[in-house]
């Protein structure tokens, strides 16, 4: 039923091919999971991809078309998505407008909201995991680090999310975090779309904290109760939060609502950080320009 025509990528635990679904001629991507690599049987990332993509059907989440075994390899058949936001941000020949950014943010947040209302945390949101379909739809992809929202007393590893998009609670080593970590990542992606360069590019985990707090201010117990109880807190350089003016200068193209939108996603205290629903209902999406029609974005 499926052909593997061209190898387009290779990761630690999978090789990705382009192919065709014979019965419909539909272009697909096949993620062939290497089984020999993982000494403990099936790879955890593969199990997570399978587990969560099976449960999610949403226009802004990558579709798992089929799964099959072949020659002792697990193959995930996924919808074909030719490009991603990282490519678009980096390619300076591609011009995009604030309306385009608004459209991408809307679709991303709809996909993230759908995960969260199914109590699934993605835990690796970044531009190259936001793929684009031929008709311009953003699709949240790569659920290899996803997990269900745990039972309240469960302890979670803080070593998740690609460093530049990692929320402050994770940088501090928190083990009882919530889906708020995904919203922080979306906030950083928004900043990057406006700047067209990574917003908080730390070279290592410690520097990531410094870069983050230098840009957005070091949190204190006043605005984030008990933040000083994190063991890493004492080593911190204390920076003041940026003034509104400084933010305006940094994000000159951003409207007041866009700045509010970003600041609420990048609120240090995860308890006060906006949820996906609050983001979707924000003034940013109600003011002009309206989000571009995805299929019209070049």
């Amino acid at each position: 039923e499926y052909t593997k025509e061209k190898k387009v990528g290779e990761g630690t635990y999978a090789v990705v091919y382009l192919g065709t679904k014979q019965s419909t001629g539909r272009k697909i991507a096949i993620k062939e999971i290497k089984t020999s690599e993982f000494k403990d049987g099936l790879d955890m990332s593969a199990i997570r991809e399978v587990k969560y993509l099976q449960e999610i059907q949403h226009v802004n989440v990558i579709e798992l078309v089929d799964i099959f075994m072949a020659y002792d390899n697990l193959n995930l058949v996924l919808e074909f998505l030719p490009t991603d936001l990282e490519v678009i941000i980096k390619d300076k020949n591609i011009l995009f407008t604030p309306a385009d950014i608004k459209s991408w943010m809307l679709m991303t947040l709809r996909g993230v909201y759908h995960c969260h209302r199914n109590f699934i945390m993605h835990r690796d949101l970044k531009p190259n995991n936001l793929l684009l379909s031929p008709d311009g739809q953003i699709k949240v992809a790569d659920f290899g680090l996803a997990r269900a929202v745990p039972s309240p007393h469960e302890s979670l590893t803080s070593n998740v999310v690609t460093r530049w998009y990692r929320a402050p609670e994770l940088l501090f080593g928190a083990n009882h975090y919530t889906s708020a970590i995904d919203i922080w990542s979306v906030g950083i992606i928004f900043a990057e779309l406006m700047l067209r360069i990574p917003y908080l590019p730390g070279q290592n985990d410690l520097e990531q904290m410094d870069v983050t707090f230098r840009a957005l201010g070091t949190p204190t117990d006043r605005d984030w109760p008990e933040v000083s109880t994190f063991s890493l807190y004492n080593k911190l350089q204390i920076y003041p939060p940026p003034s509104r003016d400084e933010l305006r200068k940094r994000f000159i193209a951003a409207s007041e609502n866009a700045l509010n939108f970003m600041c609420n996603m990048l609120t240090m205290n995860p308890v006060k950080r906006w949820t996906a629903a609050q983001c979707l209902e924000s003034e940013y999406f109600k003011e002009i320009p309206p989000p571009s029609d995805p299929s019209s974005i070049k």
Binding site: K39, D40, G41, I47, L74
Partner: protein, 322 residues
């Protein structure tokens, strides 16, 4: 829930479930019969009449009913081993669910239950983010890594790659809260705590019954609650789901409502613009009563039963031994 793989792939009517088991058994019987008659043909010359007679008696496929018994016997073992390993409640439940689903798609004549017990627990641990390396898992279960990993792919495939399970434990927590909300001031918290623990045990037992295929997790939870305290549960269900009669409200009820309303406003909890649920009280109650009947008939398979069936299974796969 209707979008979940649990509903799409693993919910059946009793008739569908019966048919599925019949088909799975029939398929295996065909291949076992072929193997056995081939065996008899190959060895025809060497077999005495007595031996042929014994073969025809002992080396025969197990029936669907016997399969169900053996699977239930081993399901209880899976639960026991997982509990003995002190795995979290949800992981134990997932292990058990994986094991039972596996034998809806496979016959015990294809894969002996003994060989899949550890694999289901191991995969459940991984799937529920309770990762244990295969070597430490092997040590804990006195098994070997090859045996644990051997059928992992087959298990995942038989599960139709559906790993996310909704168990009735979280709904129990939800109803524990909602009962406090609906019956404010009428329930004693300490007592509710006791009910909660008892219901957890009933749910753990219910996972061994076919109720998990016929009813949704919350329905199983409500059935367990009904068994624990019928009066409280009926009061809750009526308050929650029974259409309000037109009867004139007594003075106290009006005050009660106002107080609740004030409390809710203080709570500024989101006002739902739709009725809380379009659930039909009578239908729901009949479902829960039927589910209650289902979860109290726990499958009990004696060791002797299991041994006899296991012997039959052994001989039909090893006719020379017979």
């Amino acid at each position: 829930y209707r979008h979940s793989s649990q509903y799409r792939f693993w919910s059946f009517t009793p008739e569908q479930l019966e048919q599925k088991r019949i088909d799975t058994n029939a398929q295996a019987v065909v291949s076992v019969e072929e193997r056995l008659s081939a065996f008899r043909d190959e060895n025809n010359a060497d077999l005495t009449e007595e031996e042929v007679k014994t073969l025809l008696e002992k080396a025969v496929p197990v029936t669907m009913e016997e399969e169900v018994k053996l699977v239930n016997f081993y399901a209880k073992k899976v639960q026991g081993i997982a509990q003995h390993m002190n795995l979290p409640t949800e992981v134990v439940a997932t292990s058990l669910t994986f094991f039972r689903r596996f034998y809806l798609e496979n016959s015990v004549m294809d894969i002996d239950p003994k060989t899949i017990v550890h694999t289901t627990i191991f995969l459940a641990c991984k799937s529920e983010n309770y990762f244990i390396s295969v070597d430490s898992f092997a040590k804990k279960t006195k098994s070997v890594r090859e045996a644990i990993l051997k059928h992992e792919f087959k298990l995942l495939e038989s599960l139709k790659f559906s790993l996310l399970n909704h168990h009735p434990y979280r709904p129990l927590h939800g109803f524990f809260l909602d009962i406090q909300n609906l019956l404010t001031g009428k329930v004693d918290i300490k007592y509710m705590g006791q009910i909660y623990e008892n219901c957890k045990k009933r749910i753990t037992e219910a996972l061994l019954t076919d109720a998990i295929y016929f009813y949704t997790p919350p329905q199983i939870t409500l059935a367990a609650l009904l068994l624990e305290d019928e009066a409280l549960t009926l009061k809750y269900l009526e308050t929650k789901f029974k259409p309000k009669e037109e009867e004139a409200e007594t003075e106290t009820e009006v005050d009660e409502k106002k107080k609740n309303k004030k409390v809710e406003d203080k709570d500024n909890s989101p006002k739902e613009d739709k009725p809380e649920s379009s659930i039909n009280y009578d239908v729901l109650l009949s479902l829960i009563l039927a589910c209650k009947e289902k979860i109290i008939e726990l499958p009990s398979v004696t060791m002797d039963d299991a041994k006899n069936i296991a012997a039959k299974l052994y001989f039909c796969n090893n006719p020379m031994k017979a």
